[in-house]
Symmetry: C2
Subunit: 401 residues, 2 copies
């Protein structure tokens, strides 16, 4: 039996010993939610060329004679739209130019459409409006060629997809999705059990893990036959990077997870953790493959996954997505709670804004089996072993959605 910190330290070590994540190439349309496995430097600047920021008229400032008058007239020549390469600027003329269109070579100023008057195809504009560079977006002013746009480990959302699109990336390297093999076991889950129960852990964990972009395969072993479980473990092990079992880790005659793991030659990283709920949590390795043996109670299983499995999976690929947002929410406690001397406790809470501070309120829970408490809660507080949370104390919760 280890304590919370020891368990986390052992898992951090285990993560380091895992093989480097594999990469694969995917099309841009599938990039959202994946983890970038390459650095991205700009090969295309943005803007890609000097372009007009307005619908207006392109001219060259040096062409404009200093007549001492307030206004000047210029003959209009070309009509330049986005997508075409305009002919070079002709001295002493202006060209109609649309937003985003390329500035003709030799032009250096765009006067907005609404600032001029048109008269018989001739442009009349105020001298005071003319200034070099006006309304021109310069090639590379957002980012020049060679800029670092993204680095490996970035979890990709629309912001990053936009940058990838700006580089005309049709394919990109991402880390392969970690494949989770998830096995629930218990004779009570057989359709023909005398006292049949709803099997909650596989849909619960699948939803939780898939929302993180993991690939989950599940198997429910609805029997108390040890060989059935062993067959399932071997089959799931062959198609996954990390195994998770739920239930069957006590020492009753129907608790087959640990005997099966032993028979398959698994090594124990730790057996039970001083936490509540979730104490039965056991982690083994089967060859190099991590095996999380979770309790059967779905409340405990959810908490073990949130606090142990998911941080472990994140550390496998060193995801950058969460570094830039507060993963926890902070506020004051409106209740007091004391963890026993040796047991780290998890308390479901709601969060509400009160003036400029957040306030956490405890959600009643029936403990390890309770699942309803989570849908009433917005986060979980971790109260370390032997510590007391008092009313008004500042604390951090991890969010539940």
């Amino acid at each position: 039996m280890v304590d919370y910190d020891q368990a986390q330290a052992l898992l951090a070590q285990l993560a380091k010993s895992q093989p480097a994540p594999q990469t694969e190439f995917i099309p841009l349309s599938q990039a959202r939610g994946r983890i970038l496995a390459q650095n991205l430097k700009a090969s295309t600047p943005r803007p890609e060329a000097d372009i007009s920021a307005m619908d207006g008229y392109a001219l060259c400032c040096a062409d404009i004679p200093d007549t001492g008058q307030s206004h000047v007239t210029l003959p209009l020549r070309d009509y330049i739209t986005a997508g075409e390469c305009p002919p070079p600027h002709q001295n002493g003329t202006a060209a109609t130019i649309l937003t985003g269109a390329r500035i003709p070579l030799g032009a250096d100023c765009v006067i907005a459409r609404e600032r001029v008057e048109m008269c018989d195809g001739t442009l009349r504009l105020a001298l005071s409006d003319i200034a070099a560079g006006k309304n021109i977006r310069r090639e590379g002013e957002e980012f020049p060629t060679g800029s670092t746009l993204l680095t490996a480990g970035q979890k990709l959302d629309w912001r990053h997809v936009a940058l990838l699109a700006s580089q005309n990336m049709k394919q990109l390297a991402v880390y392969k999705q970690v494949r989770i093999g998830l096995i629930a076991n218990g004779a009570e889950f057989a359709d023909n059990a005398q006292d049949c129960r709803a099997e909650i852990n596989t849909p619960l964990l699948t939803a939780m893990l898939e929302s993180l972009g993991l690939h989950v395969v599940t198997r429910v072993v609805g029997s108390d036959n040890r060989q059935d479980l062993q067959n399932a473990v071997l089959e799931m092990e062959a198609q996954s990077d990390v195994l998770i079992t739920t239930g069957g880790i006590s020492v009753g005659q129907t608790d087959h997870v640990l005997p099966v793991m032993e028979q398959l030659g698994a090594s124990c990283l730790f057996r039970r953790v001083k936490i509540k709920p979730g104490k039965p949590l056991t982690v083994m390795t089967l060859g190099h493959k991590p095996v999380f043996c979770l309790p059967g109670n779905p409340g405990a299983t959810a908490i073990c996954t949130l606090f142990f499995v998911i941080p472990f999976l994140r550390s496998l690929i060193n995801v950058k997505s969460e570094s830039d947002i507060p993963y926890t929410s902070d506020g004051r406690s409106s209740f007091s709670f004391s963890s026993p001397a040796e047991t780290t406790c998890f308390v479901p809470v709601t969060y509400a804004q009160s003036g400029k501070e957040g306030v956490f309120t405890a959600v009643p829970s029936r403990g390890a089996s309770d699942i309803l408490c989570f849908s009433h809660a917005t986060g979980l507080l971790l109260i370390p072993a032997g510590q007391t949370l008092n009313v008004g104390d500042w604390c951090s919760a991890i969010p539940l959605n």
Copy 2:
């Protein structure tokens, strides 16, 4: 031209006039991320029966003779595992019972395994450990039959999937995903354009909208031919609930969006909004179908979508997902910013925790076209028209991921 509040009010009205969302039935395995379209009351209580909370021994308190001694011995009979319906309790005996197994009729106490001694098949336990109800989880103590578990409008994550699984829901009613038809247009996006540009808006908006569980179909019209755009609008309109166009809403000869909409008989809800960036934002209705005409600059398009399109889409189905978490993050500004008298401005910011308060720092932006600024930012601040944000002011940002 309308101001920010007028535009939002018009959109709220438009949302109310939309037909009620349609529902469909999906299997539980596809529930994550969808919006529940039914209320869910418990037809199965949890626990489903009186069950043991421990591995231990089930007995009946009334059986225990008051011998005046500190310990008592009981013969052991049955071995009860989860999934079976045990025979009734036999007076004066105990039964081995595993965690989660059903309590035999007539037993009313479970003594934990580690609290007893076994001697030749006979159980020896302390009288002081015996108490009615001990280590028994009562049928319905988490929730009884008839409890309200979920209500329509709930966005489903693992917490709700667990509750649905507890009710053995194989199928559930959800709102059909809103179908978005997304059309980018501009000759500069044709592969064979002289001055070809990367088309960013469709991948950007697709990633943004798909992450909200919307169904997105895209079309890039890489020509300046009005008929091409009109054909695309008709085709996309037929397969979507909401249309979005990007680009082509100015009044140049290649700006065909408004003429096409007019020709198709669309009505204008508003034309341009006093915001920066995003001023060209125009909303029409084609029949009853909302059409968001967004600017071509991807930075402006992203902001229009975050502040106008997405709130509108949410209000169509009155989603409950966000009601329980703070959708904004709050903190103090580390910079000052003044919006012009008539223009609501959006400023990309980073958020950092400083002691117990969050601090926002402005991220430099090149304006309407800038996409790099978003990947450096964590949120967007809205500064209302005519207002000044001062250093130290308390403010709220909407998060970017």
